[in-house]
């Protein structure tokens, strides 16, 4: 299990407390707070201009060069069909490891801003209610409450392997 191995590393190397497996990095999107598994986060970068990809879906902003590898960047607002927001100095790209179809990919998501990290115990995650057609529930791993705030925990593997991002498509 690579995740546990990494967890141990983090604990010993950086003194991160307790159960790293249940830590989430949260970010803001249209005033809502979303969370992704912190072990999947490779790095956080400021927004920089991208090279657009011909005939790609609109939410695929383009590709950037991260230390020699070509990494596609997805605008999460557009992916969820929200209103566009002008990219500013606090717009960030979260670079994530995405697992799907037996391979690991690196992808970036553009979000409004990065918020915080939280410990979210597995048993406090509640299943998401049926949102109807509005949001594809499959992308939501569950809902959690931290400090009286609601967190929407995302399943990035499903999200970033869906639709046109799926390699098999």
């Amino acid at each position: 299990m690579t995740t546990t191995a990494q967890a141990v590393d983090l604990q010993t190397d950086y003194g991160v407390s307790a159960d790293v497996e249940n830590q989430y990095l949260t970010f803001i999107l249209n005033d809502e707070e979303y969370g992704v598994d912190i072990l999947r986060v490779q790095e956080i970068r400021g927004w920089e201009s991208v090279t657009s990809v011909p005939n790609a879906p609109e939410y695929l902003k383009g590709v950037i060069n991260i230390r020699g590898t070509i990494v596609p960047i997805v605008d999460l607002r557009m992916r969820f069909g929200m209103d566009n927001l002008e990219y500013g100095p606090i717009t960030v790209v979260i670079v994530l490891k995405v697992i799907g179809d037996n391979r690991e990919r690196v992808m970036g998501i553009v979000v409004d801003t990065v918020s915080d990290t939280y410990d979210v115990p597995e048993d406090s995650i509640k299943p998401a209610p049926d949102f109807g057609d509005k949001i594809e529930v499959a992308f939501v791993k569950g809902l959690a409450t931290v400090n009286e705030k609601m967190l929407i925990l995302l399943d990035i593997d499903k999200l970033l392997n869906s639709g046109e991002l799926n390699i098999l498509d």
């Binding site: 090279t51 011909p54 005939n55 950037i64 590898t69 992808m107």
Partner: protein
């Protein structure tokens, strides 16, 4: 513990395969009646090292087989026996057998034992020995009998704890055994206690010694005479049984993995077992394909030199940076120029490591031609040239099968039988010529023959009957030849086991295209045909032309560019207000607006304000309309598929000097896209 022989298996197998290749090519040079001693010696040496190696590693079947082979070769070598065609053929077949046995060993799969047996019988028949005699000599070498003339002794030497205290040094004993012959010593640390509990005067170690010598058991026993009471000693003759034991755990493991999952399942279905077996096989396979590459020491030395120079340049620049003075700027520029030169040289020599002479791919053809010509009853002379031309290892591996297919096609369909050739006034022996050379950034491989050539009428009628073209369609010669690359096309009257199923040529072309290459064919009826394959030298780096469309930079591979030009208004023509063509000299070339295909905001939509880059792919030319030509540079090709997926019209991406990403255009793909687009337009018109 000792030495784990299995770590050398891969090396041994690799060397053996090389040895087999050498044997094969030497055998083909060996004509009946001519026993050129050097050639025979080469063959003998290869066979001998394969035998020796396989015996050492416990591949007894191979060792036994090669022993018979070696005996025959030895007789040839000492001129006791004359070389006949039947001997050469038998030897060639035995090379195949050894190869199949070694491959089976590598892949942990099975080989055709019956075939090996029959070839071995033939060899023995040639030797004139009855089977038993050969069997006996084999035993002597490989499995070693139980008596004195054995290969050696296995000594299991376990000193008691107090042996050193009695004044006997185990190391001295081992040294003494060493004087008798070659030793292989395995030390067992099983009884070694923790350091804190260790007594310096106690002997915790024990040894398993393999002595390769023909001395008597009593001689060995004598050495241990003084310590007989202080140790457990077992001396047994070395035999092949031990070797088979070594290999058996692998088998056990395999059978265990095969059976275990079935047992754990509550209701085992009969289907499960073969599936698991397959899975086991599959898993073991990649182990054998552990890719490695042999690199000439000169190439490595060159690399080391370059790295040395790079280090010097770097420290020079570092020094300058620390004590920077504006007056030194010129020196700094010089240093940077030097750095650039060294980097490029380094890059080139690293690429050269991956380059192999094409003879690796050509080597199999003498054998193929030899076998097929006798099978087909044709007389064929194979000419090879440009074997030293180098190309990337990956490209080489992928081009092997298409080449075999093309050569087979030439042999089967192209070259005629001697009587037909005679009737046509040609020499009885047909010539098949394989040639390779570098041209620009590509390698060109030509396969030409002086056979019958392509029959245009036959191709045409076949294409009409299989519905590939309409009956009244007018086709240029090139288009007709192109038809043979279509899926499901074959004009061979009878489907032979060599070719004629029509599944080949389209696969050949697809494979070559996947490598970024092209294949075309010229032919003259009655005089022969020539197939030309053009391939990029390497898949990692290429020369690119940077172009701009709107705000985006794209890269066009220079190999596919014919020319770039500023469009003249009078040369642009529209066809039914849909397609645009450009009249270049006496050709009409389809204009493709890159911004339309890629859905971009261009600087200009007027063709005369931008530039047309004429490119060639998929056998036709198109003019790409771009805003501006930027520089040319070498680009390192990066895959988009690693993190994203394939994009139509784009073959990859690269990173430019400023760190941004640029897409590399896939010219053949664009040609196909433009065709699809114009057919949509045609539909609209209709």
């Amino acid at each position: 513990m000792g030495i784990d022989l299995s770590q050398f298996h891969a090396t041994f197998l690799e060397e053996s395969f090389e040895g087999l290749d050498v044997m094969e090519s030497s055998l083909l040079n060996l004509d009946a009646g001519d026993s050129d001693s050097e050639t025979v010696n080469t063959i003998f040496r290869s066979a001998h090292s394969i035998k020796g190696g396989s015996a050492t590693f416990g591949f007894d079947n191979v060792a036994k087989f090669t022993h018979v082979l070696e005996t025959l070769l030895d007789e040839v070598r000492s001129e006791e026996r004359e070389v006949t065609q039947s001997i050469v053929n038998a030897l060639l077949e035995s090379v195949d057998c050894v190869r199949s046995m070694l491959e089976a060993q590598r892949d942990e799969s099975d080989y055709d034992e019956a075939q090996v047996k029959s070839v071995q019988d033939r060899l023995e028949a040639i030797l004139g020995n009855s089977g038993s005699v050969a069997e006996e000599t084999v035993d002597e070498v490989v499995s070693s009998g139980s008596t004195n003339n054995s290969e050696g002794w296995l000594i299991d030497f376990k000193p008691h704890l107090n042996m050193i205290q009695t004044g006997n040094d185990p190391v001295r004993i081992i040294r003494e055994i060493k004087s008798l012959g070659l030793l292989e010593v395995k030390t067992s640390f099983d009884k070694l206690p923790d350091l804190s509990e260790m007594n310096a005067e106690d002997c915790y170690l024990s040894w398993e010694i393999e002595l390769y010598s023909d001395v008597d058991e009593s001689v060995v026993r004598e050495i241990f005479e003084w310590v007989e009471d202080e140790c457990d000693l077992v001396i047994s003759p070395l035999s092949s049984e031990i070797k088979t034991e070594e290999t058996s755990p692998v088998e056990e493991m395999l059978t265990a993995t095969e059976v275990a999952p079935v047992q754990t399942q509550q209701n085992p279905e009969p289907v499960v077992e073969p599936e698991i077996k397959k899975a086991v096989k599959k898993r073991t396979k990649p182990v054998g394909e552990n890719a490695s590459i042999r690199v000439g020491i000169d190439k490595v030395d060159e690399l080391i030199n370059l790295v040395g120079e790079l280090v010097i340049t770097q420290s020079m620049l570092g020094e300058m940076g620390r004590n920077f003075d504006p007056s030194n700027i010129e020196k700094m520029m010089d240093g940077l120029a030097q750095l650039e030169r060294h980097t490029r040289e380094l890059q080139e020599s690293v690429m050269r490591i991956r380059m192999l002479p094409i003879s690796f791919a050509f080597n199999r053809f003498p054998r193929l031609v030899h076998d097929l010509s006798s099978k087909l009853g044709k007389k064929i002379e194979l000419k090879l040239s440009g074997e030293a031309t180098e190309l990337d290892k990956t490209v080489m591996e992928k081009i092997g099968d298409p080449l075999v297919h093309l050569v087979r096609n030439s042999l089967d369909h192209g070259l005629e039988t001697p009587d037909i050739r005679k009737a046509a006034g040609k020499p009885e022996t047909g010539v098949l010529h394989l040639n390779a050379y570098h041209k620009g950034g590509s390698i060109i491989i030509e396969i030409s023959d002086d056979g019958a050539g392509l029959n245009k009428e036959k191709i045409r009628s076949k294409a009409v009957s299989s519905g590939l073209i309409a009956e009244d369609e007018i086709l240029t010669d090139e288009k007709i030849y192109d038809l043979i690359f279509q899926p499901g096309f074959s004009t061979a009257e009878a489907v032979s086991d060599l070719s004629g199923r029509g599944v080949g040529m389209d696969v050949v072309r697809r494979n070559i295209r996947e490598l970024g290459g092209a294949v075309d064919i010229v032919s003259k009826e009655g005089e022969g045909s020539k197939i030309t394959i053009r391939l990029p030298l390497t898949l990692a780096i290429m020369d690119g032309q940077l172009v701009r469309v709107g705000n985006e930079t794209y890269i066009i591979p220079i190999v596919s560019i014919i020319e770039s030009l500023q469009a003249k208004k009078e040369s642009i023509n529209k066809i039914v207000d849909q397609a645009e063509v450009y009249k270049l000299r006496d050709e009409y070339i389809n204009i493709v607006r890159l911004y339309e295909i890629f859905d971009l905001q261009p600087e200009t939509t007027d063709v005369t304000n931008g530039l047309l880059v004429m490119v060639e792919g998929e056998g036709s030319k198109i003019g790409l309309f771009v805003d501006e030509l930027l520089g040319q540079q070498q680009v390192v090709i990066k895959s988009l598929e690693t993190n994203y997926r394939r994009i139509e019209g784009v073959s990859g991406a690269t990173i430019l000097g400023d760190g941004t990403v640029a897409m590399i255009l896939d010219v053949p793909g664009l040609v196909v896209m433009s065709r699809a687009k114009s057919s949509v337009n045609e539909d609209k018109v209709a």
